[in-house]
Amino acid sequence: MASESENENVLLELRDLRKWFPVKEQGFIASRQVANVKAVDGVNLQIYKGETLGLVGESGCGKTTTGKVIVKLEPPTTGQVLYRGQDIYSFHTREDEMYFKRNVQMIFQDPYSSLNPRMLVMDIIGEGLQIHESHMPRLQREQIVYDLLEKVGLEDYHAMRYPHEFSGGQRQRIGIARALAVNPELVVADEPVSALDVSVQAQILNLMQDLQKEFNLTYIFVAHDLSVIKHVSDRVAVMYLGTIVEYGTNRQIFTKTAHPYSVALMSAIPRPDPRRKMKRIVLPGEPPSPINIPSGCRFHPRCYKSDNDKCIKEDPPMIELEPGHFVKCHYPEM
């Protein structure tokens, strides 16, 4: 395919991805659709092999839904997800499908609800292998589980325990081991540390970085915490109301912040420094409902740069400010 020959480093590509959830109203006989929640509304993005892409935004901006569409948990309304050039929602053969499912794994936000409470850790971690390596002898599979437990900082005897016997941080380690058991290429991590205490959060972030080197992983790291995103990401994409408003390298996003929303987001974060008297940009209002997306630039009702004319009427195109740094704004900061 064309996209593949263009850049063979592209592992995953999102093309004009949309995920709308219908809002239904119960009528007398049947329910009818009255509106759409436009959770993801036109996302274009490329993910390169071996990088960590940070996807950041506030709740309801569509970052989790984007992650779910990528791992094939939610089919998109329109648009494509290309994995190694192939559309993941129209594989031709079962082999292709299984190859994709094996190579793209997910780590979930809540370590308490994402592990089956009735399964032993051994079975939780080994389940993927049972499916994808069904001919593998049991002993070999168990050995792989023990190796993984060691890699994520747990002990052999933990394999014969149930999830409730572990702390939040330990459970997240189990979730990571589960994702890595089938030796994937791409891991989508949805807020993997936001439910953890700060002292444990650092352990998990370091572990994820070590494993990335060891297994040559590509990460899509979904988070709302900008300082975590800055710490882990090679490239960063900022989402607002279902669409990406700015993306670029870590350095570009954090030192040459261009989109007013990104600027406000960064200034909103309280810094652990008592003498730093920052000029904070407090955005008025709240993110609008994704059912009624504002006209023109969807950020204009809260934007401090909005000119009340062009911004209301025209949806700004994605423009490239410098190589690799894209922004969707009529009046970017420069």
């Binding site: 506030e58 002292s199 352990q203 800055k230 710490h231 954090f254 309280p270 810094r271 003498r275 955005l283």
Partner: protein
């Protein structure tokens, strides 16, 4: 010297559960002076919320204050009756909670949840109380408060509900506001709005604030003094400035090192091994010793006492003098020094 507004002395609170006694608070000492803003910082299970609940005596049924004093304006709250406490809660010490979604009754209008309390505590008529409520809602940035006061909580977003709770707390003109993780459930841009409101309200009403949080950024921005909690005890007390520039307790230092920063490039995060202790069977001696890199034999045997190492600086550690500030912390602090230089 100014008398403290609130003084918690050697407070011990236990919870009696089926699996054993949880030593949630084990000798907490905490002071809040009038108009001061005090941060209470720690990870989950360190006792920061239970301290607030003990002060107001709203502990769960299986919780009990075993010993200690809670002196509010010199008066001990611990032996007080429920009827007496009712006059303290809300009127003198108000509290706002972490989750704005569950702190309001979903089947009552906002007006019904505010007016009655105001009328009772401030001894005014219902009409006057309604006026006060509308005024308070307007002050926290609820537009068209006169009409919106008769709506139900579900019509308001999380940030708006937190504003309503702040308005409800402040309408009674308390002297002390306890805010338990007031912005944790909110998005950062909304958090910024709510922090601004808390700051404004504090100035306007001459409030003392006790801010409970795990977010060091919020603490740095809002507080004058900080109490660092660990495992049901206080590890360190100092001015916010000192905590961030010259931390003394190994736990405080480790905590500062382990957070990713927007301002300083950290190659690899420093970690604290292990996890937060279970207080059903807490570690002996210093509760931080199993995770502390300076721990020696003494630490597992003797409980370190809170001592004043410098005026206004309290540390509970046997070996605080040996504690070194690592490269990373040095870097963080260095970046602060540079900023001060740039400013002058």
């Amino acid at each position: 010297m100014v008398e403290p507004l609130l003084e918690v002395k050697d407070l011990v609170t236990y919870f009696f559960t089926e699996s054993g006694i949880v030593e949630a608070l084990d000798g907490i000492n905490l002071t809040v002076y009038p108009k001061e803003s005090v941060g209470v910082v720690g990870e989950s299970g360190c006792g920061k919320t239970q301290t607030a609940y003990s002060i107001l005596k709203i502990l769960a049924q299986n919780g009990k204050i075993m010993s200690g004093q809670v002196l509010y304006k010199g008066q001990d709250l611990v032996p007080m009756s429920e009827a007496e406490m009712r006059r303290i809660r809300g009127k003198e010490i108000a509290m706002i909670f972490q989750d704005p979604m569950t702190s309001l009754n979903p089947v009552m209008k906002i007006s019904d949840q505010m007016i009655e309390i105001i009328a009772m505590h401030r001894d005014v008529s219902e009409e006057e109380a309604r006026e006060i409520a509308i005024e308070a809602l307007t002050a926290v940035g609820i537009s068209d408060a006169a009409n919106r006061i008769d709506e139900y909580p579900h019509k308001f977003s999380g940030g708006m509900r937190q504003r309503i709770l702040i308005a409800r707390a402040l309408a009674l003109r308390p002297s002390l506001l306890i805010a338990d993780e007031p912005t944790t459930a909110l998005d950062v841009t909304i958090q910024a709005q709510v922090l601004e409101i808390i700051k404004e309200m504090k100035e306007q009403f001459n409030l003392a604030l006790m801010l409970i949080t795990h977010n060091l950024g919020v603490v740095a921005e809002l507080t004058d003094r900080v109490h660092i909690f660990y495992g049901g005890r206080v590890a360190e007390v100092a001015s916010t400035y000192d905590i961030f520039t010259r931390p003394m307790h190994p736990y405080t230092i480790a905590l500062l090192e382990s957070i990713p920063s927007l301002d300083v490039e950290k190659g690899r995060l420093a970690t604290i091994p292990g996890s937060v202790p279970q207080l059903i069977n807490p570690p002996s001696g210093c509760r931080f010793h199993p995770r502390c890199k300076y721990a020696k034999e003494k630490c597992s045997k003797e409980i370190p006492l809170m001592e004043e190492k410098e005026p206004g600086r309290f540390v509970a550690c046997h070996y605080w003098e040996e504690v070194e500030i690592s490269d990373i912390a040095e870097e963080v602090i260095g970046s602060h020094k540079n900023k001060i230089k740039q400013k002058t």
